[in-house]
Amino acid sequence: MQTVEQVPVTVLTGFLGAGKTTLLNRILTEHHGRKYAVIVNEFGEQGIDNDLVVDADEEVFEMNNGCICCTVRGDLIRILGGLMKRADQLDAIIVETTGLADPAPVAQTFFVDQDVADRTKLDAIVTVADAVHLNSQLGEHHEAEEQIAFADVVLLNKVDLVDEKGLENVKKRIKKINPYAKIIKTTRCAAPLDEILGLNAFSLKRVLEVEPDFLESDHDHDHDDDVTSVSFVSETPLNMDKFQTWFGNLLQTHGQDILRSKGILNFAEKDERYVFQGVHMLMDASPMGPWPKNAERNSRVVFIGRNLENMGLQEGFEGCKS
């Protein structure tokens, strides 16, 4: 069977006024010559300069598949399906979400719908954040936390409007929620586009390359953020059966609270590295080639979510050691 090239899909999230449309128009004008489809929401900011703009209405569907928190974007399934019937090949698709959208259903759509997964791939979730207002937004809207938690890239915009200390504070806060996200500081969204597009952030291979960036000053409790992250490292190899049982149970019982998970695993008696990444209860996992000769063989896992302290994560992970 002919293998069809998957069209990369970049998801742009961020609160109203953060600068999503500015970024979108930069992508469209600076990368002229490339064919983009832009999927926008009907309540979004106006003025997008592209000949292929599709209106979407962010219909979130619950999947009737026994998975309690599995929601997908029904409109996205329909629109991506339609776009894949075009005679001309698209270089990329950009999905802009409303300011108050939870990114989980978008991400889950790429895990759950086979047609979407066959023909397109989630490239990255890019969250545009307003350096001036993010702090207060994080306190007031859980959607803001989710958008940071799901981000592969946080474009911290309007940095010219805050002082050094304010900027450090907001960066710290982002890192506390999501140590994986790459933070790009900009004014008027003037970031290099190759740091935003073509990232392949959802490919398992990329999990190997990304090091979580836990700040040293991890322990300040200035803000009581709902969403936090934890990570564990083990030099002792893990037992595969024990890990699968623990992790499977964990996602079953706490999948609603675990927004994202990622890890590289070193199993006893296995020569290959195992890599996984998940969104709520849905997970991708695969062996990813042998360990590099000079690399340390250790296991590293990261969880981003709510109520992580009540899941017995540390004990569970320790219990997987062989």
Partner: protein, 345 residues
């Protein structure tokens, strides 16, 4: 009954030997029967008419993808991502019925005196060419539209179920058929007693209209993109599995508590399109690799490979009204237009 579709030594099938092949530079998005022609729609907005005694001709209809198409025997109705709902005659004359602007036209349906389309959450119904449509609101985007054979009912599927609009003396009245999940393509059984929809989940759902009893037809390995009614039983034949899955809709309770008949095996891949052979207890199943298998709906009978793999999934199969010709189309724009029987030409 298994057919090895991976064979390297490809021998042309009889149908391929006597038919004509076309390669169009756009995906085939659908096909319908119009008089003795078969009309195909494409991802570049064009239609092609394949007639019995003429060269196929092209009609440029939409600016973008033709997303949906229906025929009422006299006209073809198309909906596109250019927001247009068009009515096209057998000689290719285009009549724009409605322009939704930037909104896509996702579904269309037609029958002798009625035609309908949907765009977003609204379904639009035209009665006897009245210039103003009846507008039916839904709480979510319409996933499928279908008239019953008599044109007394219009089914509108969406998230959470299907709404059936029934024609009354003065107005259309609605009745809701509920089932959790998102519903797409929808159809009435030929006798009008059952309603069936394909779901976002890998299953089809049915209701007996009289008492709204549920018929959950699940267990598929992939989404059901295509179904058709076949034979006198009749069977609801569905894609989505490695064989054509045929649910019996005879008797008092239809498929309730019964097993489907599984025919036309495609090996380690799933059927993407199914079509009945009119007036016969037989079905064509098109697969992910572009191959098409013909089989009687009888597990003891042999099935026949009538179209070799093309490398791209089957997206259209139509049989001309006089049953003399078949058209097969795929997602890469490959078309086979062939006399169905030896000796006919």
């Amino acid at each position: 009954m298994n057919i090895d579709l991976q064979t390297k030594n490809i021998v042309k099938t009889k149908l391929e030997q006597r038919g004509n092949e076309y390669k169009i530079k756009a995906p085939v998005t659908g096909s319908v029967v119009l008089n003795n022609a078969v009309v195909t729609s494409f991802g570049d907005g064009s239609l092609r008419f394949f007639g019995l005694n003429q060269e196929p001709f092209e009609v440029k209809a939409h600016k973008g993808v033709i997303l949906t198409m229906s025929s009422n025997g006299q006209f073809v109705f198309t909906g596109g991502d250019d927001g247009k709902f068009l009515k096209i005659s057998s000689d290719g004359q285009i009549n724009e019925i409605y322009n939704f602007g930037s909104q896509w036209v996702d579904c269309v349906a037609s029958i002798e005196n009625f035609f309908a389309c949907s765009s977003g959450k609204k379904a639009y119904l035209w009665v006897n060419d009245d210039s103003k449509p009846l507008i039916m609101d839904n709480s979510s985007t319409v996933g499928g539209l279908s008239f019953d054979l008599e044109g007394n009912k219009l089914a509108v599927s969406s998230y959470g179920g299907v709404t059936v609009w029934q024609r009354g003396d003065r107005r259309w009245k609605s009745s809701r058929f509920v089932w959790k999940g998102s519903h797409g393509k929808v159809t009435f059984s030929p006798d009008g007693k059952y309603l069936v929809s394909a779901m976002q989940e890998n299953e089809v759902h049915g209701w007996r209209i009289r008492d709204k009893i549920d018929l959950a037809m699940a267990g598929y390995p992939s989404k059901i993109k295509s179904f058709t009614w076949a034979g006198s039983t009749p069977f609801l034949v569905t894609s989505g599995a490695s064989e054509a899955i045929c649910w019996p809709f005879d008797g008092k309770d239809g498929p309730l508590g019964r097993k489907p008949t599984c025919v036309a095996n495609g090996g380690k891949q799933n059927a993407t399109f199914v079509e009945n052979l009119p007036q016969e207890n037989a079905v064509f199943a098109g697969f992910q690799d572009g191959s098409v298998v013909l089989s009687e709906i009888d597990e003891t009978k042999k099935s026949y490979l009538i179209r070799n793999a093309t490398g791209s999934e089957v997206t259209a199969i139509s049989i001309s009204n006089d049953k003399s010709h078949i058209l097969i189309g795929d997602a890469m724009g490959n078309i086979l237009w062939s006399p169905l029987w030896a000796g006919d030409n």
